[in-house]
């Protein structure tokens, strides 16, 4: 049962992150929430095998390492896109931007 603590944390982070991606309106918060989701998945990947074997598995660790690096690149790109959006005059508040888009 004690090995379920961190996998449960991973699932909880996944849920929290996704809820925030949907619920928060600001672009930056959505990007942060995506990072939280990625952390949740990483936790699930690394801590689940320990349930079965009792040791740490090196392959998911390498996958998560790769995942963290890719997340950094994706976050940097997403942030550059958000800045570009703001430059072009779009509202960084997604709901406001949607309302502006509806106007003919």
């Amino acid at each position: 049962m004690s090995e379920l603590v961190f996998p449960a944390l991973g699932a909880a982070l996944l849920g929290l992150g996704f809820g925030a991606v949907v619920g928060r309106r600001h672009m930056l918060m959505k990007i942060i929430a995506l990072n939280v989701m990625a952390s949740g998945v990483s936790l699930l990947l690394v801590t689940l095998p320990a349930r079965v074997h009792g040791t740490t598995d090196a392959v998911p660790q390498a996958m998560v390492l790769t995942g963290i690096v890719v997340m950094v690149a994706a976050t940097a790109l997403a942030l550059a896109l958000a800045v570009r959006m703001a430059d072009a005059g779009a509202d960084v508040d997604v709901v406001q931007a949607g309302k502006e888009g509806e106007q003919p």
Binding site: S2, L4, V5, F6, A8, L9, A11, A12, L13, L14, G15, L16, G17, F18, G19, A20, V22, G23, R24, H26, L28, I31, I32, N35, V36, M37, S39, L44, V46, T47, L48, A50, V52, H53, T55, D57, A58, V59, A62, M63, V64, L65, T66, I68, V69, V70, V72, A73, A74, T75, A76, L77, L79, A80, L81, V83, R84, V92, D93, V95
Partner: protein, 312 residues
């Protein structure tokens, strides 16, 4: 006793995440994000994944946190949003809550799913020891799954090129001159950067024996580079700089060249000749460190902000 510690640690991470995702202030959210990364690193250490802990601190909390702070400054956003339940009524909270529960349920299914019969972990440990690499994670990254790491470097480089394309046409902010340089920051940089360089070299070399490796060291060097940029010791090189482009691409080229050579020499891509795996990996890693550092440091745009006047 150890389970109690696990639960407390998990609660810490959860509370940080909750506070971060529900707070009104964006800067507060970013600072909480860095704390969240550090607490998560503690979880990684607790589980025994020390390499991941190093990467989480260096890249997850460090580079991503710094990128967020920098973007916050560039966006100059004043009014944060807020899923204002008091204003819009509780119905507005249903959709995010439902999505959150669905995602958490997916996680629960992953936990409850039956496990595979063939465990990879002991196999990896045996083979890594046979190849002479003390750290199985580095062995997986650069030897057994070397192709994935090659693609990972390509992703990093593509991200940089995409950010360059998005920043095209924006005027570059010049670094502050000697007179305008902040003295405390300058002194801090003079102490930190040499230490960072030495630690990065050590981390890269030690990655073959214990926790460490090219990515963590590259992130450390990138942090040193950003500090140099912020303090004004380094002028930001434009995306058209040949030196910058060469250094950024050198990691991918070195890795691809190694893949090509091993394909011709041994018949298998990135299958190193017997007994030489350690030297191949170390060589590739050292080229990777500089390349990753250049890529990550260059993701920070407009770092040397013009010094604000007294009216601001």
């Amino acid at each position: 006793m150890s389970t109690a510690f696990d639960v407390i640690l998990a609660l810490l991470v959860l509370l940080l995440a909750l506070r971060m995702l529900s707070t009104r202030g964006l800067f507060q959210a970013v600072i909480l994000f860095v704390s969240f990364g550090l607490a998560l690193a503690l979880v990684w250490v607790r589980v025994g994944a020390v390499d991941v802990a190093l990467a989480e601190v260096a890249l997850g909390a460090g580079v991503t946190g710094a990128l967020l702070v920098n973007t916050l400054r560039r966006l100059e956003t004043k009014a944060p949003d807020w899923l204002d339940i008091a204003r819009y009524g509780p119905l507005r909270a249903i959709v995010p809550a439902a999505c959150g529960l669905a995602a958490a349920a997916a996680g629960a299914v992953a936990i409850a799913a039956p496990r595979a019969e063939v465990p990879l972990a002991p196999l990896v440990l045996e083979t890594a020891a046979g190849v002479g690499i003390g750290n199985p994670v580095t062995a997986v990254l650069l030897d057994f799954r070397g192709y994935d790491t090659l693609l990972e470097i390509a992703v990093l480089l593509s991200g940089l090129v995409a950010v360059w394309a998005l920043e095209r046409g924006r005027p570059a902010v010049p670094a502050p001159s000697d007179a305008a340089r902040e003295p405390v920051l300058a002194e801090l940089v003079r102490w930190i950067v040499p230490l960072a360089v030495i630690t990065a070299v050590y981390l890269t070399w030690f990655g073959s024996y214990g926790p460490g490796g090219a990515f963590q060291a590259g992130a450390l060097l990138a942090g040193a580079g950003v500090l140099l940029l912020a303090a004004g010791f380094l002028q930001p090189a434009g995306s058209s700089s040949f030196v910058l482009r060469s250094v950024a691409a050198s990691g991918l080229f070195a890795f691809a060249a190694a893949a090509l050579h091993t394909t011709i020499a041994t018949g298998g891509m990135l299958r190193y000749p017997a007994g030489t795996a350690y030297y191949w990996m170390l060589g590739i890693e050292f080229v990777l460190v500089v390349s990753i550092a250049a890529i990550l440091a260059d993701l920070f745009v407009d770092v040397p902000a013009a010094p604000r006047g007294p009216a601001a």
